[in-house]
Amino acid sequence: MDSNQSMRLLSAWIGQIGDLGLNLLWRFIHIVVSLWYIVSGIFEAIESYAITLGLNKKYGSIDLEKLRCLAVVVDIEAAQDVANVVELLQWLTTIGVKQVGLFDSQGLLKKSKDLILETVPGSMLLEEIEKDVAPDGKRIALEFISSSDNKEAVMKAANILLQRYLKSSHPEDDKGEDFFTESHLNDALRVVGENVHVPDLLLVYGPIRSHLGFPAWRLRYTEIVHMGTLKYMRYGSLLKAIHKFTGVHQNYGT
């Protein structure tokens, strides 16, 4: 009887030790994973600050010839805080970006464009530049885009093409095969007041890895980079993304 009791006691102890071991293992793994995230976060922050301070020579000079037009997608929540957008534009001006399209789906930035143009030194509307007001020095041309410039604009352009086609004298058997080309649609989009500048790089600020309805027609070969939330944006990360883009080779399907 005593031996049975002592064996039970022993097995209970072994069980408890096993449980303790498992518990320790679980906690240890949890600590390791947490530490990994903390360390990688710290490393990213340090790298970002090193880039900002110019300590990383690799990012010292960026050849912006490849980056003719940059677009920024901002989620609705971030678009309500214009201060962050202004700071981002100031950074882009410092880097030397000449043309920026600002997009949020509800057009909140469009509504705040006067405030943004006032606050960002050297900024002007893209339309003004297109009226032969050449940007000089540290000037930045801004375009404000919303969802209405996407599918809605294509719909209006399609209607314009439809009207033009029906008014034109066309052979009976021709069903618009040569009437509807990319240049025709581009032209119709201009008529409805839609710019057709194709961004080379699209930076997405927000929790979603999506372009949130940025005008589809313009996105054919645009490089898309998810930057995290605008709230926690870093100058170093921005510089790194632009630098990485300048090194990307596109073969356009060939």
């Binding site: 509807f180 990319e182 649609l185 589809a216 898309i224």
Partner: protein, 307 residues
């Protein structure tokens, strides 16, 4: 015979058990650290016993239970994939370009089969873009032959799995033999509803939008529609993705590290979640796909509903 276990015996046993548990703990830790290094050497648990062999060495994953890290109710309904990196994969593995494409085609079947088993309704694959005509003539010819041969050989497979196959794109320039196979395949599988594979051959997002404009013109000429009828919903019904119940993908996967849409579903991808993977397409296995789905579901949970 009764005997007492003395305190020192208990102490010895306790010490031994403690040492064993510490040893077990260290071994567990070591195995955890070594597991990523060992994974390439061994097949995944049950990976061989659950696989059914299909003709000519193509393996298709057996019946799938939803992996524990995924929630079935948050699965995307439509997954689109840009299968990039077949040529690079062939180069890296010392194979011919054609073998790279062959490996990519096999991977697509495995990928689609896995999608359907996980409850995903529609899979779209960007097989050949309009811009791809700019490649070397021999390479294009080889690709067209591969499409024709592979699709022809898989008609029975698609029927046995009850997968509906639709081919979208311009199709005006593709060889007659491939066109015949496409029609045969679409006809043979058109009655299936639950699983839908869309192959984009000679497809361009801009061409799709322009095609919708042309369709609208034809309909207006025939007096089927009035000008004021043309709205977004109507326009969407004229795009080539009208062949599916879910024209807008919930998730787009692009392999090989490129981070662009490359003239694929331009209109349809407005609110699609992007997942760019550095892995080359023939290496994009089940584990990598689950990573993509986990990333997608995290976003889905955060926003409560699909956009």
């Amino acid at each position: 015979m009764n005997f007492m276990i003395h305190a020192n015996h208990l102490l010895v046993l306790f010490t031994i058990s403690t040492m064993l548990s510490v040893l077990w703990f260290l071994l567990s830790l070591l195995s955890l650290l070594l597991l990523p290094c060992l994974r390439p050497c061994f097949p995944a648990k049950g990976s061989l016993k659950n696989k059914k062999k299909i003709d000519k060495g193509t393996y298709v994953v057996g019946e799938e239970e939803t992996p524990k890290e995924l929630q079935r109710e948050l699965m995307p309904r439509h997954v689109a994939v840009i299968m990039d990196g077949n040529r690079r994969w062939a180069k890296q593995t010392g194979l011919l370009t054609s073998q790279g494409y062959e490996a990519g085609a096999k991977r697509l079947l495995e990928f689609a089969d896995l999608c359907f088993k996980l409850g995903i309704n529609t899979v779209s694959a960007f097989a050949f873009s309009t811009e791809n005509w700019g490649r070397h003539k021999i390479e294009v010819k080889c690709l067209m032959y591969l499409f024709q041969r592979y699709l022809k050989s898989k008609i029975q497979f698609f029927q046995s799995k009850e997968i509906r196959v639709s081919v979208i794109g311009n199709l005006a320039k593709i060889p007659e033999s491939l066109l015949r196979t496409v029609h045969e395949l679409e006809e043979a599988t058109k009655s299936y509803k639950k699983k839908h594979l869309i192959l984009a051959i000679d497809y361009s997002g801009r061409f799709d939008i322009l095609g919708a404009c042309k369709n609208i013109v034809k309909k207006s000429e025939q007096g089927l529609i009035r000008e004021e009828d043309v709205d977004e919903t109507f326009f969407e019904r004229e795009l080539q993705t009208r062949c599916t119940e879910f024209p807008s993908p919930d998730l787009l996967i692009r392999t090989s590290g490129e981070q662009r849409i490359s003239n694929f579903f331009l209109w349809q991808l407005a609110y699609t979640e992007f997942f760019f993977s550095p892995v080359l397409w023939p290496d994009f296995d089940k584990q990598k796909f689950i990573e993509a789905l986990v990333s997608y579901q995290r976003r889905d949970r955060r926003f409560g509903s699909r956009l």
